[in-house]
Symmetry: C2
Amino acid sequence: MKSKKKAVILFSGGLDSTTVLYYALSKGYQCICLMFDYSQKHNKELLSAVKIAKSVKAAYSIIKISLPWSNDALTGKNKDIPIHKRLTKTVPATYVPGRNTIFLSYALSYAQSVSAQTIFTGVNSLDFSNYPDCTPKFIEEYNNVLKALKTKITVQTPILKLNKAQIIKLGIKLNVPYKDTWTCYNGYKKPCMECDSCKLRAKGFKELKMNDPAIQ
Amino acid sequence: MKSKKKAVILFSGGLDSTTVLYYALSKGYQCICLMFDYSQKHNKELLSAVKIAKSVKAAYSIIKISLPWSNDALTGKNKDIPIHKRLTKTVPATYVPGRNTIFLSYALSYAQSVSAQTIFTGVNSLDFSNYPDCTPKFIEEYNNVLKALKTKITVQTPILKLNKAQIIKLGIKLNVPYKDTWTCYNGYKKPCMECDSCKLRAKGFKELKMNDPAIQ
């Protein structure tokens, strides 16, 4: 039997990366999920991620990352998750400096070690265009670094140019279990529905005239 | 008083990065040393690094990195540091997949958080040209990633094209305390003088007809 092509998936257990995981599975990849514990304010995301990875029988690894210098709203101890009336137009307070660059460098290390030739990430340039590490240009330049390293590994971004409704539409075709995904920046029992991340997700389901199965 | 320009130094306490630290200090930078504990087989390097950083009153941060998938000779539990009669021409067994890419991504995060505009690294393409993450092309492409991230941060590599003797010559001008640096891949009481790293260092001092002050 020919062995399957392998891919490392940057995986958070959220709506975007779960869609990407199911996309990679649908393309015949043996998926290896890479998750990060970067001192987020809660571990709901990671619990979702592990549950979903197990459910598709994907191997996974959780890497603990400490960024003692970071003072962003996602990891900083004294900052609150901001509540905006509208989505912000500047770099959001939830931007963790260098985050995707760090994630991709670990994914590279993992991919080289297990001979995977693809790294999938759920970065998305439309909705959160103010995160500088979620742009097409960033991904393009990162792929040039991988070439300079003489690897055959490439970063693939299947949802880079989709909006939230389009991502959900794709995911529903792929049978993504959205009820198990966790998107909220806060770690309450239920999604807060007030943070940017919750709002964006709700907007996506609303555009499709669907109920979010994670909201009971 | 005008505040000093800041730089993050990728710092291991070895001969190369200590020379780079002193170079950055000589150029008037306020230096912030970034060190990594990546499950090396020994912590002699880190002890040297902390001692040197303190001696020049540089701020420092030690980041613990785990790469559970790595099976290289520097971090793998069941592998020995290789002893070669000559320096190898292929990628050495001591290559840690993605290592410099990971180091640079943390340096980026640190630099963004403290508003440093320069990252200094002691990568060196001449002697260890077989490490794919120590080449001029790799650094050039990494700098393009930093541009794509819309930062003004650049990676600078003052010893990229110097051989070991030239590095030591530069360091002596800058009063680098080579007696305090640790270069050996092994963590014995004294440098083993058999690993590639020891041999290269010894060759450098020999070319300059000097005794290595770290060897008693």
